[in-house]
Subunit: 433 residues, 2 copies
């Protein structure tokens, strides 16, 4: 065996892989989110990790190429998916005749981007999306429903949320009224407002042809935050543009639905635009309450024409997403997980050679009673077994000697306090539950 | 929009994708299995879908190439994983110094094989594995633990199991005693015993140099089925070969542990070899009880030297797997899922324009009380809403008119019987729970 040439075991750089105890925390987070989506009548979807390249690149016309894992197999030109939205569009377009609309789906899955890996950026990572797709027309109440998912998701992992909401039509309408032909460019500038000094933003607007009055009004809009009445009071008089007014109307309607759904902890913030041109109406971002500096943990909004590259039907949609790999990273860095106890084993069973089989019987019995019981260090010395229980952070240990077996009693050791008790089986169950 | 060139939406052939209602059934099956693994103190693992090619192909020396999705990205030579075992070996080898052994992990994940797709064969499909890896030495009790996972997994989806168990050392030892140099070839013949007529098998053995007496004894071994006493009685005298006797000893020991773990519904069947050379001791296959003709739904066994290509440590392991895509396929084909009711929506809420907001409030309240409530056909006619509820198999519908809102009463329609009741909110909750 030692003569053989060994291959150094290594993982592709930037590909997501957690150690098992962390994976357990991560999966329990995902399970919690899944429960929330399901409780809100969203259906699960699980599309392939790979798609035909022409499908995945339809939207971009090819300029995503650099970031994409693309290859051929036989006569197939294949890409690994870089998000879950294009696969959703492909799925909805393929099955438009059999799906019920509005189609509410969630998907938690891995996506692939060949970027240079760095802290918090992965080449393989998870996305977590919930979307509602409407055939032709989708009521604004579904925008509220997507927003309403954040609080219970975050709450399920012990966090409070703040949602910041806007409607792109407000800014788009205002810019339209300036006869600006540079809507995309102007939105990109707005998206940078949080990151750059005001003078720089000013200069950028000027360069795009906005005069001082326009810039003043733009700033008036994008610095407006508050509840719906405050928003209306601040900006209503700025423009009479049709789209602008529609934006305010939709925001008002959304507010009504959010109230009906008991959504709390949201604020309107008209500087939210969510980068992409992609969004056409409602846009929102989710933050951990009182931790805005950590950045948005999720976001989403309303989009038109999801399936436009595939079928000749106008599908409107609204979606929310949670940046789960980033969220998990933050929670670990900020020590937000509650304890470091062993989550897979609650009680370790320590036996001696002659009680080995009794240990297995006890383990089986405990598991049947719903207790995470496992043997520790079979075949090793008693000292090693105790050491191992400690190292693995197992909270309780049962020591099972011949006498204990004979008397039907169990010696329980509480590892944190080193306290030791001799108990019947029922007392043991009570003690550790 | 109609001028635009559309791309026909299509999915890669043979890649796994279920419609949302089926996906819900599939995921609930996976969730059930996960709970079983967790209850038995197995830890989750989630390795990347892609690995360095030299790592994935280390075992095969390259002859798997045809089946493999392989490509380059930058300077990286990459393969999509074709099973979960090689990634496990890579993971354990990389982390051997920090993992606790025996290391008990489960993984449910997609794997990729570029085979020609056909009924029941996929290019992207799920594997579901649970393994225990030991450093140097792993007690036989862990073989029993892996086997013990089948019954609760199958039971969680309403199925009974039978496990058929053997130990490859019995046959290997016997063939060794014949001084046969063709152990692999002989095992491959044994693996075909169920599929080919006896004369053909006979001829194949003869070709490999076995005489009539040897063949008779081989058949005696591989047709032996029963409990441990029956096995011993039938074959003990056939050989005195060391490995052969060790096989019987291990089987006996395994039997003791299975009893201690309350495993029922297993039988020893010495014709089980599990194809691959890979396995070195215990081998087993799992069947749906009384449905052996559907074939094995899972299997596994004991193997040596898991990480031999990567590190100079002898890691022994034992693992079980469940063929979950095949199992799901069988359950659907054989109509084993219990009902065709809508699993994502239990109660549909039908409103009129003037009660739309009240409908949203009721939906929110019901969801908070743990009821899967959703609005149906917002903006459509009453008739369309009722039709849609029917089509979607929603079991209950609440019809919410202005009078109902005024009186705080709810009209509940039980769709199966068309029965209609007027109820308070609490009565409504009681009725549908």
């Amino acid at each position: 065996m030692t003569d053989k040439k060994l291959i150094t075991p290594r993982k592709l750089q930037g590909f997501w892989e957690l150690m098992p105890n962390d994976e357990k925390l991560f999966e329990s987070m995902l399970d919690n989110f899944k429960r929330v989506f399901e409780n809100n009548c969203f259906l699960p979807l699980d599309t392939p990790v790979a798609e035909y390249s022409d499908i995945l690149l339809a939207k971009s016309g090819g300029d995503l190429d650099k970031e994409i894992y693309r290859f051929t197999k036989g006569s197939n030109d294949i890409c690994l998916r870089y998000d879950l939205t294009v696969p959703l569009a492909r799925f909805v377009a393929m099955n438009a005749n059999v799906l019920e609309f509005p189609f509410k789906r969630f998907q938690i899955g891995k996506v692939y981007r060949g970027e240079r890996p760095q802290k918090g950026r992965f080449r393989e990572f998870y996305q977590c999306d919930a979307d509602v797709i409407g055939l032709e027309n989708l009521p604004i109440s579904y925008d509220a429903e997507c927003i309403s998912l954040y609080a219970p998701c975050f709450k399920s992992i012990g966090l409070d949320t703040t949602i910041e909401i806007s409607n792109r039509k407000i800014l788009a309408g205002f810019f339209e009224s300036l006869n600006s032909t540079n809507l995309t460019d102007l939105m990109i500038i707005v998206d940078k407002v949080d990151k750059l000094p005001k003078e720089e933003i000013n200069a950028m607007f000027k360069e795009k042809g906005l005069n001082d009055k326009d810039i003043e009004n733009t700033f008036k809009i994008i610095t407006t935050k508050g509840n719906i009445e405050e928003i209306k009071k601040e900006i209503s008089l700025i423009s009479q543009n049709q789209t602008f007014l529609e934006g305010i109307k939709e925001l008002t309607e959304l507010n009504t639905y959010l109230k009906a759904m008991n959504v709390e902890d949201y604020i309107f913030n008209l500087s939210i635009v969510r980068g992409h041109n992609y969004y056409t109406g409602t846009v929102f971002e989710a933050f951990i309450k009182n931790k805005r500096s950590l950045g948005a943990i999720g976001g989403g909004g309303r989009y038109d024409n999801l399936c436009g590259n595939f079928i000749d039907k106008n599908m409107q949609g609204v979606g929310m997403s949670i940046g789960i790999t980033r969220l998990f990273d933050i929670m670990q860095t900020e020590n937000m997980f509650e304890n470091n106890k062993n989550l897979s084993t609650k009680i370790g069973i320590i036996t001696f050679d002659e009680t080995n089989l009794d240990g297995i019987k006890l383990m089986t019995k405990l598991r049947n009673d719903g207790v995470l019981a496992d043997r520790v260090g079979e075949g090793k010395s008693f000292k090693s077994k105790m050491k191992e229980s400690n190292r693995r952070n197992i909270p309780f240990v049962v020591i099972l000697g011949e006498d204990e077996v004979k008397n039907g009693m169990y010696t329980l050791k509480i590892m944190e306090t080193s306290e030791q008790k001799t108990l019947t089986y029922d007392e043991l169950l009570n003690e550790i539950k």
